[in-house]
Structures are given as structure tokens and as C-alpha cells.
Subunit: 127 residues, 3 copies
Amino acid sequence: MVTREIVDQLPELQSIQVGLCHLFIKHTSASLSINENADPDVRTDVESHFNRFIPENASYYRHVLEGPDDLPAHIKNITIGSSVVIPIRNGSLNTGTWQGIYLGEHRDHGGSRSIVVTLQGESSQPG
Amino acid sequence: MVTREIVDQLPELQSIQVGLCHLFIKHTSASLSINENADPDVRTDVESHFNRFIPENASYYRHVLEGPDDLPAHIKNITIGSSVVIPIRNGSLNTGTWQGIYLGEHRDHGGSRSIVVTLQGESSQPG
Amino acid sequence: MVTREIVDQLPELQSIQVGLCHLFIKHTSASLSINENADPDVRTDVESHFNRFIPENASYYRHVLEGPDDLPAHIKNITIGSSVVIPIRNGSLNTGTWQGIYLGEHRDHGGSRSIVVTLQGESSQPG
């Protein structure tokens, strides 16, 4: 859950009345998505699900040199996605009550991850 | 299939020559996607698929207090997505012949759902 | 992998300093995504995965008249997605080192596919 960490680095958000916030992760083995930000069990269960339905060590994998977690990480990235686009309203992300931004780390030892944020919109005050 | 319902509430679309239409659902147990809008059997089959591959009552789910359909609904939302972005051309959504907008309701009793629409683009007439 | 083919047709990219590139595929049985553009085994493995977890000829499919690959193609499109949005920086797609654009062809004989590209952003030179 990286909502707070991201928003804290976007003071420009406050000057946008109506717009969009685009988040893009520059990696092929991590993902961005939006989901329930309250009960941490949801995140655990989501991870359990994808670990089961995008398994390691499938007999038909050829790309195995980077470790058993690498190819599943790519498939998780494709399934979940590399970017999210969130509406902005009155200087804040216009998300629902329970929505937060997930950064899915799909490698066992993924290192640091870079996200590019692009803000678009109309300022609430004349430029 | 909510394409008509949404477009009918967007008269502003008609004044945009080139642009984008962003749809965002403010919920963590429903989803937005784009797919075949003709044969209703497709929607039934899509639902059957996700019910099978994102099952209820998996032994490893911890988040069970909100009912057996809640956690699978979150995973379906993450897998399918919370938003779609559709190009606009000459005042209409520039979708393919068979494409329509799906609202995926993943709870058994989901209640009403809110979608935020953000339009961007250039007017076909001088402002 | 269609990154080069797409970028080569977008000379306008070079004039955008900061912005977004939206790609949208106008079909319900093909998809767009972003993933590893180096080892072609990754693409083979990704295809193997989705063929296994979105199978043909499932007993519960009703939509079978267009062939056994049609309904799975729709589900793959919904799972992977119809569009990608990539940040632009200094006239180029601001992707990570290993990221490329995948066009997923999910029919056995899909024919040609159309992608709509929408560029947004601020020019590096005064208009």
C-alpha cells in the first residue's frame, strides 16, 4: 500500500481541480493496482491467490535462468498491470472510501522500484 | 454492458474531436473492462471463467468475515481493473465494432456503483 | 513485441517534453500490455501460461460457435487489457530498460489489428 507515500510527494495535486493522475512502474516484475486499503489480510490473500494461479516451476516454463520467481513475476505484472489512472477532484485523488494504491512486488528480492507520476488537469486558480 | 447508459450521460462527448474518455469505478469489488458487446453468452462465460479461476472459499483465504464472495471480488477487481481509457474521435468513443464497456459486479449483492468519468480533448469548434 | 513498429509511426513523440502516450486496440480478442522485451522465451512462457489458465473447450463455455479459440481470446483480452498508457519524457517513451509493448494475438487466425494512438503533452518548444 503506497498511497500515502506517493501522495506525499505530489504537492502539485492540491492545485488541480479536475484532472487525472497517471502512475507507471518502470519494471516488468512488479505491478500497480488499486484495491482495498483497510484489512491487511486482503493483501495477503491476494498474494496467495496469484502465487497459486501463477505458479513457480511450471513444467512448460523456458525462462528459468533468472530464478523460479522471475517468470511468474512477469506474468503477474501482465495480469495486474503496469499503470493506474486515478481521477483528481478538488486537489485530491477521487478514490472510493476503501481504495488504495498497491505496489505489487513480485520478485523475492526486487530491490528498489521507480514509479513515474504524470499529473494532468485544470488548476482551481487562474494561472 | 453499460456503454449506452454511460454515453447517454456524456453530451460533452459530442464536442470533442480528438481526446480520451477515462472511466473509473470507485469500488474494490467491481470492475471496468472492454469486451464483446454482441452475444450475451460471452458475458456469462467470462463470469463462469472468473468464478472458477478466482474461487470462493479457498483454504488459504484469511479475509472471510465479509462473506465468501468478498475476497474473490477484490481479486477479480485487481485482475480485470478499476478503469478503462477509450479514445474519442469526432464526438464519439472510437471503439471497435464489437467493443462495449463492461461493469463487472463481483459481489452477490453489490448495491449501487459509482463511476467517475473524465473527458479530455480538443473541441471540434473554436472555443 | 511492437514497440519499434509503433514508435516509428509517431514522429510527433519527439516534440513532446512531458506527456502520455495512450495505445488502444480496437478488438476483443487481442490485447496490449507491457513486459520484458529481451528474452523471447518470456513471451513463449507468458502465452503458455494463459493458454493453460484460460483454457479452450471448458465444459461451461456457451459461446462456441466462433471456434474453440474465440471465447478464451475474449477472456485473455479482459485479463490482460485493451490499452496501455506510457509516460513521455524528452521526446521518448519513458519506459524502463526491459519494458516493451506486447500485442497479444489471442486468435489462431486473427487477421490484421488496429491500434489507436493518442498523444498528450507539452511541447519542448513554444508552439
